[in-house]
C-alpha cells in the first residue's frame, strides 16, 4: 500500500519534470523580455541625464545651488466681538547666516558682532551649537533686530556674503496686558514638541501658543508655512525662482469679549488681586474675563532673561494665573440662593417657612454664628436672602443634608469644569459624604453640613462657575457652556465658522420658587435692609445680585467681628464676592467680582460689579445711538 503510493507520487513528479520546460517556457521568455526592456529604458534615461543633460547638471551642482527658503505664514489675528483687533502681526527681521556661502567665517562674525554691538563669542557659541546642521541651512544669530541694527546690517550686506535678513511676522498686542490671561502668549516650539505627532509639519523657530486663546486655538491660528525652491549663485544671491508654495495664513478669531467692557473690568480691579467675569446669560458668551494682577505679553515675544522669568514665575501675586477660571474659593453667601431652591424643591421648607434668628445656631455644644450678632429675628425665605441671614440656611441645610445640597449645586454647574475652551480650568469642589470618606478617610460630620450650608467649609467654586450658575437663575434655569470665541474666519471654503452657545442642561424649577429667589436677589440691592443696598449707588441699572464673603481665617467664637476686620493683616482678610445680573426683570448681563482679601462682599465687590454693568449699558446705548 505504502509502496504503491510512493510509486504513484514519483510518477507524478516525473511527469511534471517532463512537461516543465513546455509548461513555463513562455513565462521565462516574457520575464527575460521585461528585464531587457527595463534595462534598456533605464540606460536610455541615464544617457539622457548624464550624457546629454550632464553638462547642465554638472554646472548646477557646482556653480549654482537649488535651495529651499521658508515663507512663514502670518498667524491669525484676534478681534474682539465688534471686530476691533486685539492682537496683530508686525514684521520682524532676524539675522541669519548661511555658512556655506560665507567666505571668511571668522571675519564675518567679527564684523557682524561690531554692527550689532554684541560680543562675537555669543555668535560663535550659537554657530558651535549648530555645528551638525547642514551648512546650507541658515543659522539664526539674532532675533527681532531693532531698527538701527537692521539699517546697519542691511547697508553692509553686499560685502557680507551668507548673511541673510529673514522676515517673519511677529505678534503685536494692541493693548498690551489687557485680557492677557484670555488671549495668552506664544513662545518658540521646543525640540521635544517638534518630534511629537501633535506638531507634525512644524519647523524649528516657529512660535506656538502657550496660554489662553493663543494656545487653545493654536490649530486655527497657526496656518501653514510655505516655501520656495530658488536657484542661488555662489554668493548665495537669489538668481531664479523655480517653484513656490504660498503659505496659508492662520485663521482670524473673533472673541466674544468686548474690549471696552474688558478695559472697564480691569480698571475696576486695578490694584487688587482678583477677577471679574461678565457673561451674557442668554447664550453663555463671555463678555469680559479679567484677572488681576496681569502680565506683559510683549515680554514673551522679546524673550526673557533667566532673571526676569524667575521673578515672574515666583511672584507671590501669581500674575500668570487666570483667577477667573483657574482659582477656586469658598462661595460664601453667594451660595445661598441655590440652597433655598434646593430646600423648596425638596419640600423641606416652603415659601412661608419662617425661622427665628437669635444671632447664632446651637449645635453639638457649639454656637454657629450669624454675621449679625444681635440676630435677625423672625425671617421668611425671601428676607433671609435679602439680609443674608446665616441661621435660616443652617436650618435649611440641616434638613437637606450634605448630599442633597451637593446635588443641586452640581445641577447649577458648580463643582465641575465648565468646559470653556481654555486650559487651566479649576474644577472647584462641591463636597458629598462619599467624597469626604474617599478623600480623607473620615466620615462626614453633621456640623460640617452647617459650614457647607453657608458656602464655607470644603466648598470651592471658580468665579466663572458662579457666573454660569447665576446666569441660570437669570434665564430661568439654562446652564450654558461658556464660550469665548464667536467666529473663526477663513476656513477652507473661505467662509467663517460661527460659534454658538452650547446648552449643557436646563434645570427645572417651580416658577414660583424661582420668582421668589429672584425677587430676593433684587431686594439685596433695592431694599433698605439689603446687604448691598448702600454699596450699589446707581439703582437705575436695576441690578439683582448677592454679596458673599469667603472666610480665610475662622473667627474664634468670642472675638469682636468688627475689631478683627480692622486689625486683620491683609493676608488674613476675607475674600469678597458679588454676583449679579441686570436688568433684574430682563437680564442681559451677569457679572461676577471676586476680590481676594477684599473684606466684605458689599463694600469690596459690589461697587466693581456696578462699575462693569454701567460700562456695559453705556456701551449698549452708544451702539444703539449710532
Amino acid at each position: 500500500m505504502a509502496e504503491k503510493r510512493k510509486r504513484k507520487s514519483t510518477l507524478q513528479i516525473l511527469k511534471f519534470s517532463d512537461n516543465e520546460s513546455s509548461l513555463f517556457g513562455r513565462q521565462y521568455l516574457l520575464l527575460t523580455a521585461v528585464l531587457v526592456l527595463v534595462l534598456l529604458v533605464y540606460v536610455l534615461r541615464l544617457w539622457h541625464l548624464q550624457i546629454l543633460e550632464g553638462p547642465r547638471y554638472r554646472y548646477q551642482s557646482e556653480n549654482n545651488r537649488i535651495r529651499l527658503e521658508d515663507i512663514p505664514a502670518p498667524r491669525g489675528i484676534i478681534f474682539d466681538r465688534n471686530g476691533i483687533p486685539l492682537v496683530e502681526n508686525r514684521p520682524a527681521y532676524h539675522l541669519e547666516l548661511i555658512r556655506e556661502d560665507v567666505a571668511d567665517l571668522e571675519e564675518t562674525v567679527q564684523r557682524l558682532a561690531r554692527l550689532c554691538e554684541r560680543d562675537p563669542q555669543e555668535f560663535l557659541d550659537i554657530l558651535e551649537s549648530n555645528r551638525h546642521r547642514p551648512r546650507f541651512k541658515p543659522v539664526r544669530l539674532l532675533a527681532d533686530l531693532d531698527r538701527d541694527i537692521l539699517a546697519r546690517v542691511e547697508a553692509h550686506r553686499v560685502r557680507l556674503p551668507g548673511v541673510v535678513l529673514q522676515l517673519e511676522p511677529k505678534r503685536e498686542y494692541r493693548w498690551n496686558g489687557v485680557a492677557a490671561h484670555l488671549i495668552g502668549y506664544l513662545s518658540e516650539i521646543t525640540e521635544q514638541e517638534l518630534s511629537s505627532p501633535q506638531f507634525e509639519g512644524y519647523h524649528p523657530g516657529e512660535d506656538i501658543g502657550r496660554y489662553g486663546v493663543e494656545r487653545a486655538y493654536q490649530r486655527y491660528l497657526h496656518g501653514r508655512r510655505g516655501g520656495r525652491q530658488v536657484e542661488v549663485d555662489a554668493l548665495g544671491r537669489r538668481m531664479r525662482l523655480l517653484e513656490e508654495v504660498l503659505p496659508i495664513p492662520g485663521r482670524n478669531i473673533w472673541l466674544t469679549i468686548d474690549i471696552e467692557l474688558q478695559k472697564a473690568a480691569e480698571e475696576a480691579l486695578k490694584g487688587e488681586t482678583g477677577s471679574i467675569v461678565a457673561m451674557d446669560p442668554r447664550d453663555g458668551a463671555i463678555l469680559a474675563l479679567a484677572s488681576s494682577p496681569t502680565f506683559d505679553q510683549e515680554n514673551f515675544i522679546r524673550g526673557f532673561t533667566r532673571e526676569e522669568w524667575r521673578s515672574l514665575s515666583n511672584d507671590p501675586g501669581r500674575p500668570l494665573l487666570n483667577r477667573a477660571i483657574g482659582a477656586a474659593y469658598p462661595p460664601g453667601s453667594v451660595y445661598k440662593p441655590f440652597l433655598l431652591l434646593a430646600g423648596l424643591n425638596e419640600g423641606v421648607i416652603s415659601l412661608d417657612t419662617k425661622f427665628n434668628c437669635p444671632g447664632f445656631y446651637f449645635f453639638a455644644n457649639r454656637r454657629y454664628r450669624c454675621w449679625r450678632d444681635q440676630g435677625h429675628g423672625n425671617l421668611d425665605a425671601e428676607s433671609s436672602l435679602v439680609q443674608s441671614c446665616n441661621v435660616f440656611y443652617y436650618q435649611t441645610g440641616m434638613r437637606l443634608g450634605v448630599d442633597r445640597i451637593a446635588h443641586y449645586s452640581k445641577l447649577f454647574g458648580m463643582g465641575t469644569a465648565t468646559g470653556i475652551s481654555l486650559h487651566g480650568e479649576h474644577p472647584g469642589l462641591i463636597p458629598t459624604a462619599d467624597w469626604k470618606r474617599r478623600a480623607t478617610g473620615v466620615p462626614w460630620q453633621r456640623g460640617e453640613t452647617l459650614s457647607v450650608s453657608i458656602g464655607q467649609g470644603f466648598n470651592l467654586t471658580t468665579p466663572l462657575q458662579m457666573a454660569l450658575s447665576y446666569s441660570a437663575l437669570a434665564n430661568g434655569g439654562k446652564v450654558w457652556q461658556p464660550y469665548v470665541v464667536r467666529r473663526i474666519e477663513g476656513g477652507g471654503t473661505g467662509g467663517a465658522d460661527e460659534m454658538r452657545g452650547n446648552l449643557k442642561r436646563k434645570v427645572h424649577m417651580d416658577p414660583r420658587h424661582l420668582d421668589m429667589v429672584r425677587s430676593g436677589l433684587k431686594g439685596v440691592v433695592h431694599e433698605d435692609r439689603g446687604t448691598a443696598h448702600r454699596a450699589v449707588k446707581d439703582k437705575s441699572l436695576s441690578i439683582a445680585g448677592k454679596t458673599g464673603t469667603a472666610l480665610v481665617v475662622r473667627l474664634p467664637d468670642n472675638v469682636n467681628r468688627k475689631l478683627h476686620a480692622r486689625e486683620a493683616k491683609r493676608r488674613e482678610r476675607d475674600h469678597a464676592w458679588f454676583v449679579g445680573y441686570a436688568p433684574a426683570d430682563d437680564p442681559q448681563i451677569t457679572v461676577v467680582a471676586m476680590v481676594e482679601h477684599g473684606g466684605h462682599g458689599s463694600s469690596a465687590a459690589a461697587p466693581r460689579v456696578e462699575q462693569v454693568m454701567a460700562a456695559h449699558f453705556k456701551g449698549v446705548s452708544r451702539e444703539e445711538d449710532s
Partner: protein
C-alpha cells in the same frame, strides 16, 4: 547533510554577481556616510552595515543546510505568524514619520512587512506547487491565491507603507501569472477594476489622500518635499556625466543632499561619483543576477522549486526596478531600498535569505524526491 554533489551545484556565477553588487553598495554607503564616518570611525552606520551583511551571509549559508522542500510545511505557519505581527504593528507599532512599520522587542526593532516579501513567495509557491494543481488553474484555484496575497498587502498598505505593499503585490502577482493565468481572466479583472477607479477617486478618497497620490505621480506638485528631492537627485545623477566625479568627490552628496541618501536615494550617490559607466555597470550586475536566478528556476526539478526561485528572483528584480526608476524620476517616489546597496538591516537579511533559497534550489536540482 551537504555532500559533494550539492557543493558542485552551488551557483558561483550568481554568488560573484552578488558580491559585485554588495561591493557597489559598500562603496556608496561609505561615501554617503563619509562625514559621519570621519566624526566617529567606530560607531557609525557603515560599521553597522558591515555587521548586518555578516548576519546576512550567516542567514544565506544557513539557508543552504536544509532541503528547500521543508519550506513547504513551514510556509503556512510563518505566513500566519507574519499576518499576526502585521496586525500587531498596526496596533502597537512604533511610529516613524507618520507611518507604523516597526515592532520593538527590547532594544531590537524589526519590520514584519519586510519579511512578508519572502514569506508570500514561499506560501504561494507551496500553494501552486501542490500535486493537484494544473497549469493554467481555473478560477476556483486562483481565488484562494489572490486571497493569500491581498490580506498582507492590505495590512501593509494600512501602515501606511506604500512601497513595501507595492513590492509584495508585484512579487505575488508575478508568481501567480507565472503559474499561468488565462487571458480572459486578466481581461475580466481589468474590466471589473477600471470602472471602479473613478468613483473610488471621486467619492471615497479624502482630498489629502488624493493629493498624496498626485504627488506620487508628479512630484513637482510638492516642491518643498518630494519635488525637491527628485530635483536634487536628478542633479546628482546628471552631474556625474560619463565617468563620474570620483570616489568621495560628490558635491551634491556632501553638501545638501536628501535625508535618505544612504537608504532610498543611494543610487544617486553612486551615479554622481561613478557616472554613466558606473551606472551601466550596476544595472548589468542586476541584470545578470536576475538572469542567473531565472536559469536556476528553469533547471530546477519541480514546480515548487521553480516557483520559489522565480519569486525570490523577482523580489530582487522588482525592488531594484522600482527604486532605480524612482531615483531616475521615472516612477513614483515610494520608500523602497535598492537591494544589497542601500543601508538597512531587515532588508539585507531578507534579501540574503532570498539568495540562499535560490542557491538551495540550484544545489538540489539533481536530487530526487518522492515527497
Amino acid at each position: 547533510m551537504i555532500d559533494r554533489r550539492l557543493v558542485e551545484n552551488f551557483d558561483w556565477g550568481l554568488f560573484w554577481v552578488l558580491m559585485g553588487i554588495i561591493g557597489v553598495g559598500l562603496v556608496s554607503v561609505y561615501s554617503a556616510l563619509y562625514l559621519q564616518i570621519q566624526e566617529n570611525p567606530t560607531g557609525n552606520l557603515f560599521v553597522r552595515q558591515l555587521v548586518w551583511l555578516s548576519a546576512g551571509f550567516a542567514v544565506l549559508f544557513g539557508t543552504l543546510l536544509f532541503d528547500y522542500h521543508r519550506l513547504k510545511s513551514i510556509s503556512l505557519w510563518s505566513y500566519l505568524l507574519l499576518i499576526f505581527l502585521l496586525v500587531l504593528v498596526l496596533l502597537v507599532g512604533k511610529e516613524v514619520n507618520g507611518a507604523r512599520r516597526w515592532l520593538q522587542f527590547g532594544g531590537f526593532q524589526f519590520q514584519p512587512s519586510e519579511f512578508m516579501k519572502v514569506v508570500i513567495v514561499m506560501k504561494l509557491a507551496a500553494y501552486f506547487g501542490s500535486q493537484d494543481m494544473p497549469a493554467y488553474p481555473d478560477l476556483k484555484k486562483l481565488l484562494p491565491a489572490l486571497g493569500i496575497l491581498f490580506i498582507p498587502v492590505v495590512l501593509i498598505l494600512a501602515g501606511p507603507d506604500l512601497g513595501t505593499a507595492m513590492v509584495v503585490l508585484a512579487v505575488g502577482l508575478t508568481v501567480i501569472v507565472f503559474m499561468g493565468v488565462r487571458w480572459r481572466y486578466i481581461l475580466t479583472a481589468a474590466l471589473a477594476i477600471i470602472p471602479t477607479l473613478y468613483p473610488l477617486w471621486e467619492y471615497v478618497l479624502r482630498p489629502y489622500q488624493k493629493s498624496r497620490i498626485m504627488i506620487l505621480f508628479s512630484p513637482e506638485l510638492d516642491p518643498l518635499g518630494a519635488g525637491y528631492h527628485i530635483r536634487q537627485s536628478k542633479i546628482a545623477i546628471g552631474s556625474g556625466m560619463a565617468w563620474g566625479k570620483g570616489f568621495l568627490n560628490g558635491t551634491q552628496n556632501n553638501l545638501r543632499f536628501l535625508p535618505e541618501k544612504h537608504t532610498d536615494f543611494i543610487f544617486s550617490v553612486w551615479a554622481e561619483e561613478w557616472g554613466f559607466v558606473g551606472c551601466v555597470f550596476l544595472l548589468l550586475l542586476f541584470g545578470f543576477l536576475v538572469f542567473l536566478g531565472l536559469r536556476v528556476a528553469r533547471r530546477s526539478r519541480d514546480r515548487f522549486g521553480a516557483l520559489l526561485v522565480v519569486g525570490m528572483t523577482c523580489l530582487i528584480f522588482w525592488q531594484a526596478l522600482i527604486n532605480i526608476g524612482m531615483v531616475l524620476g521615472l516612477l513614483p517616489v515610494v520608500g523602497i531600498t535598492l537591494p544589497f546597496v542601500s543601508y538597512g538591516g531587515s532588508s539585507v537579511i531578507t534579501l540574503c535569505f532570498a539568495i540562499g533559497i535560490i542557491q538551495n534550489v540550484s544545489m538540489r536540482r539533481y536530487t530526487f524526491h518522492t515527497q
